[in-house]
């Protein structure tokens, strides 16, 4: 396998973006990433496009071709991937794989989603389509908030995790978003009281424990070592990009307090990168719900099983803690345009490693992204380093 580098990144603001079409957002992100890398559209050989819901919400499929044509990409394959909330991460993973295996020297990964033009109930419906329909579980009326609430309550019962631990995640990420002008809740801080007294969505989780519905697009240019050196600038190497599959139904999970695909992808990523969790300086993790960040800390090996709540409450993951997590605001406060999220995580980590983030971490040489699709059915972990 060849060495792989991230030469350019871009992210649109996340939030309610009015009448912006998914095509226009995706093209803006693609152009932005190419400009950041200083590569022309004629030089891009492969396109990987991540999206989840455009087929259902906008009636638009065939988006890889639509976006490739809009970007004037003519050299090689344009491929769309769908892995629910991990769609953007999978697009990045495949682009990195194409460069690593020598299929191309310059690949573009784009992720985009438009959701705010639909009602909450429509979006809830579409998200529920990421569950295994044959299992019968969606018939119960279970939602994704419900799924993570089941995990949250089990985690509380088994390990003594508290609602305060979950609120701590929500507060930390909302505070972080106040430094990120692209975040959906930039300029909208909240108090502890408001978080803890917000309306119930799926008990025990409340409104501020849940990520918002968002529009947005993010992109990255992935290149070979020769191209990275020729382009100049800070070298950001992809030490590892791994993907793992897991259950798409609760009935197939080995435990309700851990996502097996995260453990598997993380283990493979650490082995490939020759680093351990202790070497990770910063991380962008998939906090679709506050409880998911608690579980992520454990599955990524940042702390032991059951220790996620106290670990976060200790301040270890704050901006000035030993390992800041979700300095962007995370999905909870940066926003979660489903197909864009995995690439937005890459955007944030790359800016931190370059030292060009809106609020730079005190130490950021190695960063990790953790992107989870559905009930943990698809997981992508990337480990990036400034080299």
């Amino acid at each position: 396998m060849r060495k792989v580098y991230v030469a350019g990144v871009f992210s649109t603001p996340f939030g309610k973006l009015g009448d912006a079409s998914i095509k226009s957002l995706a093209i803006a992100a693609g152009i932005g990433a190419m400009a950041d890398a200083k590569v022309s559209s004629e030089a891009v050989e492969h396109l990987y496009f991540g999206n989840f819901a455009a087929g259902m919400l906008q009636g638009q499929k065939m988006l890889a071709a639509v976006v490739a044509s809009g970007l004037r990409l003519t050299l090689g394959p344009a491929t769309a991937v769908e892995g629910a909330c991990a769609s953007g991460g999978i697009a990045f993973h495949l682009a990195a794989l194409a460069v690593a295996t020598g299929q191309c020297d310059i690949a573009l990964a784009v992720g985009a989603e438009v959701m705010t033009g639909s009602t909450t109930e429509q979006v809830t419906n579409v998200l529920a389509s990421a569950m295994d329909q044959a299992s019968g579980e969606p018939l119960t009326g279970l939602t994704f908030a419900g799924f993570f609430s089941l995990l949250a309550r089990r985690h509380m019962a088994v390990y003594g995790t508290t609602m305060d631990h979950f609120a701590y995640v929500a507060k930390k990420n909302r505070d972080n978003a106040q430094y990120n002008p692209r975040a959906q809740f930039f300029g909208h801080p909240v108090t502890w009281e408001k978080i803890q007294q917000s309306r119930l969505i799926a008990e025990p989780l409340r409104l501020y424990d849940c990520c918002p519905i968002s529009d947005g697009a993010s992109a990255a240019i992935i290149v070979s070592e020769n191209v990275a050196k020729a382009l100049g600038g800070t070298m950001i190497e992809v030490l590892a990009s791994t993907q793992a599959a897991g259950p798409a139904a609760l009935q197939e999970m080995d435990s309700l307090t851990s996502l097996s695909a995260v453990r598997h992808a993380a283990q493979a990523a650490y082995e490939t990168a020759h680093v351990g969790p202790e070497d990770i300086d910063i991380a962008e993790v998939h906090d679709c719900f506050s409880a998911a960040e608690v579980i992520a800390m454990e599955d990524l090996g940042f702390c032991g099983p059951g220790e996620g709540g106290p670990y976060i409450a200790s301040g270890s993951t704050l901006w000035d803690g030993e390992r800041p997590v979700n300095l962007s605001g995370g999905l909870l406060s940066k926003g979660h345009p489903v197909g864009a999220t995995g690439l937005a995580q890459v955007y944030e980590v790359v800016q931190q490693l370059r030292g060009t983030a809106d609020r730079p971490a005190r130490r950021a040489r190695i960063g990790l992204t953790h992107n989870v699709g559905g009930t943990g059915g698809a997981v992508v972990i990337n480990i990036l380093a400034r080299t």
Binding site: G136, T140, T143, A145, P204
Partner: protein, 112 residues
């Protein structure tokens, strides 16, 4: 239509099957199943939904629980509408019945 419960002989997962229809395990595709009756288990975790998909808006608020059977197989079901949701806890014993609309319905023995 009447539904009955089948346990897969290969993977032991539970399926609700329309009476008279052939059994087909949702998890492993096996067609070897055993009809089961009087199935009960204990609540492993539960949630009460206040935001619902389109077809369930009239049900709000409603409970969904994961239940572990004696053989540790997990099933997911809708808590019966007669359930006092404030009295459901982890460990609550429920009787499980197949349901055309909700897949599986859970009837708590001590939380009505």
């Amino acid at each position: 239509m009447n539904y009955v419960l089948y346990a897969c002989q290969r993977c032991h997962k539970i399926s609700a099957v329309a009476e008279g229809a052939p059994f087909h395990c949702w998890a492993c595709q096996s067609t070897e199943g055993t009809m089961i009756e009087n199935v009960s288990g204990t609540v492993e975790s539960f949630t009460v939904l206040h935001v619902a998909p389109l077809h369930y808006l009239d049900d709000i608020p409603y409970g969904v629980a994961t239940v572990l059977l004696n053989n540790q197989v997990r099933v997911v079901g809708r808590l019966s509408r007669f359930t006092d949701l404030d009295r459901v806890t982890i460990g609550t014993v429920v009787h499980i019945s197949p349901d055309e609309r909700y897949g599986l319905v859970l009837h708590p023995l001590d939380a009505r």
